[in-house]
Symmetry: C2
Subunit: 137 residues, 2 copies
DNA sequence: CTTGACCCCGTACTGTAGTCCGGGGTTTAG
DNA sequence: CTAAACCCCGGACTACAGTACGGGGTCAAG
């Protein structure tokens, strides 16, 4: 076995995910199909762990597995033109910026809330609702 | 019927969600139980629509319904002390800041990708993986 | 050369977040 | 007064994202 390869179990442990999840992502096409040993064992390249961690993070940010697949496939190659990639990347950037704005808005409200706490003034209504008003993309 | 109240159908339409979703959120405790007409119809206060929109946005940002419930319940009242709320709000702020950092990281990578496109240099490997390395909270 | 840890595969099960159904009562416009 | 449009409820169904199961092969240590 190549020193630089990981069995599925090691990979799963390194990335902190369930072994079955690795198989599941492979079926979904989120991980490229790894080469196999003669007996059929998968041998993942080392950087599969990064990829797995990326997937998990992107999920925490509200991307579906389908969207994550789109993100992961953004690259320039022979079958995609630069212009095409550029357009798609810019669309993703816009999505991300919208998410960041929403998060900033919630954060600002929470900040205000902690200041109210400092002032010891009781707040009856739910102050979170002050955020995110009428800027629906 | 009060001018300021919404039937479930109107509310759902205004907020852009399915009517059943409104009932579902009510069951889950994400919407306070509204008063009813004598015949049993729900009459939601107008701001229930804001609340629904908040829920949807927070979901897009990767919060589960349980977490959203926690966000919505962050307020100072008689049964919660200011200090308690403050602590919880600060924890949420930290969560949010981590999400923002992750998003900025992905964005930066995508930006780099668009620059590569401009330069017309083909990129073989997946450049997205350059982001998000080893800063696991 | 066996035993335990690991891997294979397909299939079935689980949790979350809705969404639909259908049999019934209510409200409103004609 | 009736038909369309709306609402009630409980329960069944769906999609997505895993997670578990179980019967079998493989590999490394003793």
């Amino acid at each position: 076995m190549d020193m630089k390869s990981l069995t599925i179990g090691r990979l799963a442990k390194q990335a902190g995910v369930n072994l079955e999840t690795v198989r599941f992502y492979e079926r979904r096409g989120l991980l490229p199909k790894p080469p196999r040993t003669p007996s059929g064992y998968r041998l993942f390249p080392e950087d599969a762990a990064r990829r797995l961690r990326f997937i998990r993070r992107a999920q925490e940010l509200g991307f579906s597995l389908t969207e994550i697949g789109e993100l992961l496939s953004l690259r320039v190659s022979r079958r995609t033109t630069s212009a095409d990639i550029r357009t798609r990347a810019e669309a993703k950037i816009a999505d991300i910026e919208a998410k960041i704005r929403s998060l900033e808005s919630i954060k600002k409200t929470l900040r205000k809330l902690t200041r109210v706490c400092d002032g010891c003034a009781p707040v009856a209504e739910c102050p979170i609702l002050e955020s995110l008003d009428r800027e629906d993309a």
